[in-house]
Symmetry: C2
Subunit: 350 residues, 2 copies
């Protein structure tokens, strides 16, 4: 699929040796997607704001800085334990704004829906979006609705784009990270991808695993009131390992996660083993990875634990000068390299 049928290289794409068609892996968050972003999107759209490739764009207007973030949601199935496409569409974008240090304020909602969708399903999705938006403290201020022909899937695609004000005095970014910093997480990882994999079925088993899908604006606000946060990211597609690889690429530093400290539920570990997934690469939708000053790490973990979405918060690792890259310190004490995957473990998880 990704090889070149004609044996020719497309002359218009530099650095595109053997891929002339889009494959599922291009949407996975892994290396394929990063190459696509670099070779197509940055090449054509590049500008100082976009080039930073943050979870949100941050730009100055007179007065306060503003953040803007967009995501389209194509998750299958539309409803899954712990959430649905509507809840996900609000949380995903709100969280991208939050981890950029912004207070999420306004959302747009763009629906693309297949002819034949039951109105009751659309209602259920909208009700869930509205409820999640209220919880997250954002208003849906503008929208769009398009209908496409009947087809092979359930057929609801939702884009949300969010806008918010960057909190005064907050300065987050990879350039602030230092060797010796701590890596923190607000709870057990891999739940969203495990829930989707099980809900999609066909594996001959059921598991009591729920997506962690949640709006994290409140939790992030608690953390930013304290000092010591260097950078935050929400490890969605591609999971913790992919997000850490992005930060490692940006800083040239090493990121070591301690397997013994990493919170993973028994159920998620079971699903991962059965399906051959690595939890470090499994998607999350209610997690924030924080790089923090080691001296402030304890208080930041406490602040997270005081929030509904941070009960399982803990320190999971550290930043080192060498070796660069992303590493898992196994329970036996050896270091295992966590490279960025080429493609996906599971498509259409968000």
């Amino acid at each position: 699929m990704s090889s070149n049928d004609k044996g020719l290289q497309p002359p218009f794409v530099k650095g595109w040796p053997d891929e002339e068609r889009v494959v599922m892996g291009h949407g996975s968050g892994g290396r394929k997607m990063h190459r696509l972003i670099r070779d197509v999107f940055l090449r054509h759209f590049g500008n100082p704001v976009l080039n930073r490739l943050g979870d949100s764009a941050v730009f100055g207007t007179r007065g306060a800085q503003r953040a803007m973030s967009t995501d389209s949601y194509v998750v299958q199935p539309l409803f899954f334990p712990g959430g649905d496409i509507g809840k996900l569409a609000v949380c995903g974008t709100v969280n991208d704004l939050a981890v950029a240090g912004a207070r999420p304020e306004f959302l747009s909602a763009g629906f693309i829906v297949r002819e034949g969708l039951e109105m009751a399903v659309l209602e259920r999705i909208c009700r869930s979006m509205a409820r999640t938006a209220r919880r997250a403290g954002v208003s849906i201020v503008t929208g769009d609705f398009k209908v496409i022909e009947r087809g092979e899937d359930e057929g609801v695609y939702i884009n949300t784009t969010g806008s918010g004000t960057v909190r005064a005095g907050v300065d987050l970014g990879p350039q602030r990270i230092r060797a010796g910093d701590a890596l923190l997480i607000n709870g057990p990882i891999g739940q969203h991808e495990a829930a989707i994999a099980v809900a999609r079925g066909g594996y001959g088993f059921k598991a009591g695993v729920k997506s962690d899908c949640a709006p994290l604006g409140g939790l992030v606000a608690r953390m930013l009131r304290l000092k010591g946060v260097r950078m935050m990211r929400d490890p969605t597609r591609g999971g913790l390992a992919t997000t850490l690889n992005e930060i490692a690429d940006a800083t040239g530093l090493g990121f070591v996660v301690d397997e013994g400290l990493l919170p993973v539920s028994k159920t998620v570990r079971g699903v991962a083993e059965l399906l051959g997934f690595d939890v470090m690469y499994m998607a999350n939708e209610g997690k924030v990875l924080t790089v923090a000053d080691l001296g402030k790490a304890g208080r930041l973990v406490e602040a997270m634990r005081a929030d509904t979405h941070g009960r399982g918060a803990r320190r999971i690792g550290e930043v080192v000068r060498r070796p660069p890259g992303v590493w898992l310190r196994t329970k036996l004490g050896s270091l295992r390299r966590m490279i960025m995957l080429e493609g996906e473990q599971l498509p259409r998880i968000c």
Copy 2:
């Protein structure tokens, strides 16, 4: 398709007598879409900003007011005379901001693409988006890329969401419209829908008609420098008649378009006659409908004509106290009522 197979009314949707599934007409800009917006989206998401249902949401933050607008583009075919989905995705959102009195500044771009799409096609679309964004003076600052399985269409859906600053001192809105005001348009109507209909083919003819797809920020800025503009709208899905009906509903006034003054190219008139379309309902993607103080109408038309996208500008009608609603004064002098259509003339035009 829109009837209720089970003979039951869904208990959760008030005012939804006989439609329990989404049909193509729900995406058309006509009455079906307006009912969906009222009964589903406003009911769940309603808030003071959304409830105004403008082309853009306008909200105050400290200092200047900001505008935000979103649209998803699902046009088929992806490339058509005068444009492509990429150009359309930039123009459509930029124009929604412009007619709200805002200076378009930042765009997000969310792609949903089918597996198997040729990379060369994606490149061509991005190149076109980038070129149009440069012309329109906006930066694409954030984006997202999702891949879905192979399917029945060409499979590129693009959401753009735009953000801009409302020009100081500009106050536009239906409440400012008075009987005696003039209706102005910046050129011949119906071109976008005619171009798409012909490009979609299957009609056994070709016509030299191009979409009018264009960014109108510059033209609108020229007009707003003069005084006298009461309100602007871009008559896209559902055309001039639908947009005027929305304004008529909001004001309770009458809107009379003079058939003899309405600019329509011979080719568009020919396409409309062959396909049984009414030009008043045909979609435009480079037109701005302006309601203006009659005393300033002449200077506003001159200002439009000084712009590349306003060469064919003219006054096309007037606002009257009675009769309320939207009317076409035919060349014979009689008044023909232009109601809002139930559904679409042609789906997936934008």
